[in-house]
Symmetry: D2
Subunit: 352 residues, 4 copies
Amino acid sequence: MAGNSFGKLFNLTTFGESHGIAIGGVIDGCPSNIVLDFEAIQNEMNRRKPGQSSIVTQRKEPDEVKFLSGIFEGKTTGTPIGFVIENANQKSNDYSHIKDSYRPSHADYVYDKKYGHRDYRGGGRSSARETASRVVAGAIAKQVLKDIKINAFTSSVGDIFIDKPYQDLDFSKIESNDIRCPDQDIAEKMIARVKEIRKEGDTIGGTITCVIQNVPVGLGEPVFDKLHADLGKAMLSINAVKGFEYGSGFCGAKMKGSEHNDLYHNDGTTKTNLSGGIQGGISNGMDIYFRVAFKPVATIMQKQETINKDGNTVEMQGKGRHDPCVLPRAVPIVEAMAALVLADFWLLNKMY
Amino acid sequence: MAGNSFGKLFNLTTFGESHGIAIGGVIDGCPSNIVLDFEAIQNEMNRRKPGQSSIVTQRKEPDEVKFLSGIFEGKTTGTPIGFVIENANQKSNDYSHIKDSYRPSHADYVYDKKYGHRDYRGGGRSSARETASRVVAGAIAKQVLKDIKINAFTSSVGDIFIDKPYQDLDFSKIESNDIRCPDQDIAEKMIARVKEIRKEGDTIGGTITCVIQNVPVGLGEPVFDKLHADLGKAMLSINAVKGFEYGSGFCGAKMKGSEHNDLYHNDGTTKTNLSGGIQGGISNGMDIYFRVAFKPVATIMQKQETINKDGNTVEMQGKGRHDPCVLPRAVPIVEAMAALVLADFWLLNKMY
Amino acid sequence: MAGNSFGKLFNLTTFGESHGIAIGGVIDGCPSNIVLDFEAIQNEMNRRKPGQSSIVTQRKEPDEVKFLSGIFEGKTTGTPIGFVIENANQKSNDYSHIKDSYRPSHADYVYDKKYGHRDYRGGGRSSARETASRVVAGAIAKQVLKDIKINAFTSSVGDIFIDKPYQDLDFSKIESNDIRCPDQDIAEKMIARVKEIRKEGDTIGGTITCVIQNVPVGLGEPVFDKLHADLGKAMLSINAVKGFEYGSGFCGAKMKGSEHNDLYHNDGTTKTNLSGGIQGGISNGMDIYFRVAFKPVATIMQKQETINKDGNTVEMQGKGRHDPCVLPRAVPIVEAMAALVLADFWLLNKMY
Amino acid sequence: MAGNSFGKLFNLTTFGESHGIAIGGVIDGCPSNIVLDFEAIQNEMNRRKPGQSSIVTQRKEPDEVKFLSGIFEGKTTGTPIGFVIENANQKSNDYSHIKDSYRPSHADYVYDKKYGHRDYRGGGRSSARETASRVVAGAIAKQVLKDIKINAFTSSVGDIFIDKPYQDLDFSKIESNDIRCPDQDIAEKMIARVKEIRKEGDTIGGTITCVIQNVPVGLGEPVFDKLHADLGKAMLSINAVKGFEYGSGFCGAKMKGSEHNDLYHNDGTTKTNLSGGIQGGISNGMDIYFRVAFKPVATIMQKQETINKDGNTVEMQGKGRHDPCVLPRAVPIVEAMAALVLADFWLLNKMY
């Protein structure tokens, strides 16, 4: 109820603050007898990890996951998978300047008001560091899902965007550049933009597109737990996300029914896919695709006025090593959350 | 788990198909001792009801809600509130033509595949008729929330949109026209557009904006159950919704941190509100606002090719009385779902 | 959260007060394509219904269940099954004498304190009338479970008890007498005892034993959701229940390990079954059996002193038609709750 | 859903196997700003720990809990409390003899059948070692509950039992002997009995009684989540428990209503308390008391026949250091689970 668990049958509970001893989580409901590929898990961690390239924060976190339970002789046992990731940065003194002040557009103010007691070290629980635990669980969910393929990529940075449909992109190129954009020309422009922004001590937003393929027909529950409603919630639960659209999305709101309807081939596939692979909340076997909007990182290396606990105006400037743009590191988080949702509905669908 | 319940503490379970005997629901967790305003509840029902104006379906449903429990001497007792709404239209024969065929961009195909048994009468459970039960519960949630004000309105139809910030609109005008747009000039254009579309036998999409005011600081849970994540899920669970954005939304993805950050006044309110009243998933006391994208209604009065159960191509044309545009009837549904989310977090926040 | 729902995958939500318009419920998660035997459902209702024999309350309630949704052409559709049972007795004036007083060992006092507003008509929500909805859902759960057989029977009334192991009883005799005891000699003594007690204006407690056969190996989840823990909760949620034991139960607490251990046959069945068909919370394929203790009905036809709202002493005497002993009517309720638990775990086990 | 979480608002998820790296858990929903008494937590751990006295297993486990999150400057922050307890015994080779065999009345057989993959080291997840995590969470729950006092004690071992009502016992004596029985004479007899049993290489069952005092009126939810139903489930989820009764319990089933009803004092307290502090599932402010039956430990130091994976008969004898009687170590577990249930309902009751 306090919001640190996600999923019904494939359930993840996370814990940990950015500057505590460790973060981690418990995965409950993972089927037994899955031979885990630990390298694949660590690889997902590396995609999210700070310091991986010149356009992300240069903070150092090895982000090695240590499994404590639920795995025996390399296979899942069906019991809960407990895991921890140590915080290498835990003893940082970087945050004394924000101890009594509220950083603009951060969660400092609301946490203080809600809980009456705040872990001021780097955002504590509200830090995106928590998402490392989601990536662990998502990497395992991907292995549960086997044939279902989930690919996310950076589709825009500021006003630079990919102007092709995803069908024209080569997903194998996503990892070939630091911004995780499969269109190399656009990727270069995005990277240049991020570097420029960082020089200004500023940050920039963007969007991530995610495509899920080989989904069987029937995932999702009607009415409240529609597949896209749970995907939307999953994405909106990621730090800095401001919007979610799937299939035709906001563009669909401008269209006419005669333009928007997806007519059938005789085999039940559809000629177009404005539905985004989901009808009535249930997967129809076509590609699921959606787009997620990320706001610019709130911590900027420029002076800003803000207030302290007493309501007095104070000046503040970001210190330390922060991301000028979260997108490249958010790509594996989007995939992880998508995998969690899919694994949950995939298990639930076994009931039928 | 099968997706017919919504909410944790303030919980709604709905049942019923469009052409069954009745639809209805159970509200569990409504606080006791609330003096219910039954006229206000029926008024919300009337806002959603078919036949209310010339631009919506002319189907006739009195949509009178009958409460069976949980209320005694005009006040809630704290026990579950059971209610039913009879289906006046239940004996319709209008749907024989779709018995064995799958209507394009409807849920017919996926229901048949998922359940192996389909109630073909008008979509059955996948029909938006189900949302009448949500409006009942939402109307009660509004009464629980008292001072928190929730106003939704049609902000675009096709490519016609309100080009003012919501602060410049007079919400008291929302109910003064059939499309539920508070800007009278735009409303007229929207209505004309819907009539034109209807003449073509076509349908049109649009967006609804919702503004929630007088929200206390502290609603929402960090990490997975962020206030906007649950609002997003709530909206995406409404039939025909393709997208959700709050605060700066997709526009925020184009901005720089220095432009996007909301600086503080000394009293903790913010000078701008690109955050949309929510920071780190928790309400900060500023207005919450979000936008919801609706696709055009899938049932059109034009001939379309589709397939039947055997995979053969058949021709189909919408029959009966359908909405050319769902927006005016969706406005109270958006408000209802917002009220359910807020009531839930409001109760949960009493824990702290 | 407010406690009116039961079950995870096979979920029942009930509503309704003893003297409101109707009681009813919603079953969510019932698999599709089950051809329902409506006569079997009504038969379970008749076993619970008042007025069925000379040793139960002579109140008249037809207790006919009306299904509103989730069933089409005689089969379940996979959508929620909504149902109502009208309260024939709703306009009774029998309860004016308890309006401001608290009946001893009833829930009147705690409801008033908890909710600050009380439906004083016959206990309202705390009345065992609510269990009629459980019997509906349980009857459907039995049909879901097919081969799993659930038989409950009255095993003691006051100090009269069956002194044979259940293996020596003929379950087909349970319905052959009014007390639902398969041992005819004991049944006669029990019935005589109940009649005697009724003459005194008093009531009497007893126990019900339940045996579940043909259970597959593997139902139940380890740790918190052990099969017997959920069975225990289910039974303890029935009105008037004071205790639950399974397998060797409280007797097992007096035994030595060398006496209590169930040794294996080579096929994995066990030579003895003190475990009661459950080991480590998971069914092992042997018979599950448990015993449930019911206190005597609190409403007696004798004068008792009690207090009113103002804390003044008042005299009270039961009016109307009450059960001298709940056991015969509780037998189908015990079976229904057992069926709900089993159906839930049976569905959950499909995940593995 | 997979059964490793307990509680709604005050929620505990546990992980870990007896011979894995560590066990641990996550407490979600603990209120913020509670100044934790860490010594009190460790003290509870010591009460459950092996090797604490001569009548329990002589295995060595320091059982020191390490908190990883949710606590800052000695106070809870409202974020999830993650913790781990290392397994000192993890590298034991003691269990090779049971690798392919099923210990009688253990969970080996059902785990193997359910999951198709078994952690054979000492029971793995089914080991009572898991309850150490419950004791951590229960110790914190006790601190949340402040004035509510929870005292459990050994009330019988085999056929030796305390023959006084709990009101005649001095709870401050519970910790003064190794069996945790507040009646010193009976305690000595119990201890002698356990030593005798151990010499025989056998084990013995018994009962624990728990008394909860200073409970406010109103805890518990009607219908399915009755306070005693959740207490019952909590107790039945503890390893080796076979039965639960509260208030008059199974004895109440032999009584008449005129004997069993608790009449009121003018202040709303009752003259007797056969109800056990709970009426209609809701606490009435009187002492809550219940009794829990534990079977004898299944691992005995005597030869037993059993079967292996291939269904062949093999001989088996317990090795290592096991408890001849779980009761003294189970006392803090019973208290911990009671505290978790109470904390959950106490938080939930703030909603009203």
